[in-house]
């Protein structure tokens, strides 16, 4: 096992990029998982600015009721300043309670009670407009039922104060693979590819250097033994790297994988094989380490941007996605998106994605074997 031992020694001295990539990835993944995961629903309070032109008890009651659920911002006299604050969302919504509000409310009118001062339609302004409509409708309903205005306002406030119980229906309860956790597997192809090309390729280049191979071929070690020992070393490296991600995933997930998460694990393993195949292919070219690093960045970043690792596939253009189909990471992400529920899940389609990835691995290995054969042509067969 002399060759295997030397493979490991060379690997140990080229391990720095792997350690950097893995450490950063795990640190970022841990942070993302911690901050992305939420268990409780928290109500959001909006910053509301009210201009009460009516200045009656009824308009005051409305302002007071709004103040119970939101932050009331003192009226801003300068209109330009108000627009600025609305624009920068320092104030979420501003409106005027128009003069004659209480009279119109008493008369059951619903039009011309308020004037919105929003600069652009936002979620907050829509929410508040909806709330004002509900409030007026509720008051009018109770009034129509025979209640006097004061009582109708009180009853409307009581009715609208009813809180809705909100609970997050955890996605993983359905299939064991939440969207939050899927992010960990989403970014994995970039890291796997970077690690394999930045570490495995240089080691293989070193072990298969022409003069080293010539000298080794002169020795009493069989050529097949040499190849098998290098292959064994490569496999151990690939599996070790993948196992690190596998085990880290268990910690980030908060327990052993369940349900569809196992398929995501299988997906990542197949991509680790693809990454190793790319690393093997690149190692066969007589290129410098600098050139290899450049190619590594081009492939890993290019695949990440094209295939939906850094930008979701749903946000990518049709043309980009059509081109990305010729890259293995596209199928990896597609399978991952289906597994986590980001896309409609279909077991058969996930299987197709995994098989296409496996085919990519084989398609990359084949030219690698061909190049190796061409490079060895002219030499005596061992």
């Amino acid at each position: 096992m002399q060759v295997f031992k030397t493979f490991m020694k060379v690997l140990r001295r080229k391990l720095l990029p792997t350690l950097v990539y893995i450490s950063l990835f795990i640190a970022i993944s841990a942070a993302m998982t911690k901050y992305a995961a939420y268990e409780n629903f928290t109500e959001v309070k909006l910053n509301i600015c009210i201009f009460d032109e009516d200045a009656t008890p009824e308009s005051g009651q409305l302002a007071e009721f709004i103040g119970e659920n939101h932050n009331i911002i003192p009226p801003v006299s300068d209109r330009d300043m108000l627009i600025d604050r609305l624009y920068y969302e320092d104030i979420d919504f501003a409106f005027i309670i128009k003069k004659g509000y209480s009279e119109k409310l008493a008369a059951g009118e619903t039009d011309g009670l308020f004037e919105s001062l929003d600069v652009h339609k936002s979620y907050s302004s829509s929410l508040m407009e909806q709330f004002l409509n509900e409030y007026i409708t509720a008051v009018n309903s109770y009034k129509a039922g025979g209640a006097p205005l004061d009582e109708a306002i009180a009853m409307a406030r009581e009715a609208l104060s009813e809180k809705t119980e909100v609970s997050i229906a955890a996605d993983e309860n359905d299939h064991g693979y939440s969207m939050d956790f899927s992010e960990y597997f989403t970014y994995m192809p970039y890291i796997l590819l970077s690690v394999m090309v930045s570490t495995l390729s240089p080691v293989l280049m070193s072990m298969n250097r022409k003069d080293i191979r010539s000298r080794t071929n002169c020795s009493s070690i069989k050529n097949t033994s040499y190849t098998v020992e290098i292959f064994l070393g490569s496999i151990i490296f690939v599996i070790t790297v993948w196992l690190i991600f596998f085990i880290t995933g268990i910690f980030l997930c908060g327990g052993l994988y369940q349900g569809r998460a196992w398929t995501a694990v299988l997906n990542s393993f197949i991509f680790a094989i693809i990454s190793a195949a790319i690393a093997i292919l690149l190692s066969l070219f007589d290129i410098s380490i600098n050139a290899l690093n450049l190619i590594n960045q081009m492939i890993s970043l290019g695949m990440s941007f094209f295939c939906g690792i850094f930008v979701r596939q749903s946000l990518l253009g049709e043309g980009v996605l059509r081109a990305a189909r010729f890259l293995p990471a596209y199928w990896y992400i597609k399978a991952n998106d289906m597994l986590c529920g980001r896309e409609l899940y279909s077991a058969s389609q996930v299987t197709v994605c995994l098989l296409i990835e496996a085919a990519f691995a084989a398609a990359i290995i084949m030219p690698a074997l061909l190049i190796r054969k061409i490079k060895r042509s002219g030499t005596a067969e061992m």
Partner: protein
């Protein structure tokens, strides 16, 4: 009778239309330091690569230790040490690890390997550099490391393909002394080089190869006898007339003369007392002369005469 260690018979190697080895034959006896000389592109390295089964060949046969050499004849390979033209070591490993790796390709027993590695280190004088990586070594030390990697397993036959290229005189001397030492211990050595003085210094038998063919073979003296020039006489002399120069040229065994104002060069082929005859003639003509020296032919003269003086720029 000396045992034949290597026998190359009618070897033909073609690269497309180019014939790299043209019915090349060679026989190397046990205990010899065999020099294989040839200009760039003459086929030296191709011959070595065929010998080591690194290259397939089109015709002929190679026998080492009396057995057919094939790529899978690992028993033969075990007895051969190879020191390539290029330093073939791992940049990532230390001096010790490199020697241990290459020795380990032949010797699996850990204790025996350790002993062999340590002996190779002592032999090449690398004791102070064991933890150095190749990048930190000078050219001479690198060559010594290359040699240590090739000889650590104590082979019976060592093939050195230009091991002293780009090495300073001190390191070169150390390497040559080492080769002589190995030979004294009974190792047969095949040595290829461009440096004639090295070959002359260490080789007991020499073959000259050019354009894939063996064009001369023998001991140093045998080779020197093959060429026309046997003595070159140099005399510092002033005002030599063309008449006297013609008389010198007419002396027995003189086949050529050159005169460039101050220095007379007389080329002789065979015969004895050539120098005395030339000096006698000068004295008779009352021509004063300064320094006088006579040179016997070197291997370089042999090499240039048999391979020609035209420049060779192809890589071997």
């Amino acid at each position: 009778m000396e045992k034949t260690i290597v026998k190359i018979d009618n070897l033909v190697k073609r690269y497309g239309d180019l014939i790299a080895l043209d019915h090349f034959s060679l026989e190397i006896k046990e205990g010899e330091v065999f020099g294989l000389l040839g200009p760039n592109g003459s086929g030296k390295t191709t011959a070595i690569n065929c010998l080591l089964s690194l290259l397939s060949f089109d015709k002929g046969s190679i026998k080492i230790f009396g057995r057919e050499m094939t790529p899978v004849n690992y028993d033969i390979k075990k007895e051969i040490g190879v020191i390539m033209q290029n330093v073939a070591v791992f940049e990532e490993l230390t001096v010790y690890e490199n020697i241990d790796y290459f020795c380990g390709l032949y010797i699996s027993d850990k204790a025996e390997r350790k002993r062999c590695v340590e002996e190779a280190i002592t032999f090449t004088g690398l004791e102070d550099f064991l933890k150095f990586r190749p990048k930190k070594l000078s050219g001479g030390l690198l060559r010594r490391l290359n040699i240590a990697c090739g000889i650590a397993h104590k082979p019976k036959l060592i093939i050195l393909d230009e091991p002293t290229v780009a090495v300073d005189p001190q390191s070169r001397n150390k390497i040559l002394e080492g080769i002589i030492d190995l030979n004294k211990k009974g190792t047969t050595v095949i040595y290829t080089s461009h440096y004639m003085e090295e070959v002359e210094q260490i080789c007991s038998h020499i073959a000259i190869i050019d354009k894939g063919k063996k064009i001369a073979e023998g001991t140093k003296d045998e080779l020197k006898r093959m060429i026309k020039n046997t003595e070159t006489i140099n005399i510092e002399v002033l005002a030599l007339t063309s008449d006297i120069l013609a008389e010198i040229s007419a002396l027995p065994h003189v086949y050529n003369t050159e005169y460039d104002e101050r220095r007379l060069i007389v080329y002789c082929s065979g015969g004895r007392h050539n120098l005395i005859r030339v000096l006698d003639l000068l004295q008779k003509k009352d021509i004063g002369f300064g320094r006088v020296w006579s040179e016997l032919p070197t291997l370089n003269d042999v090499f240039l005469e048999v391979t020609g003086k035209a420049l060779r720029d192809k890589e071997d």
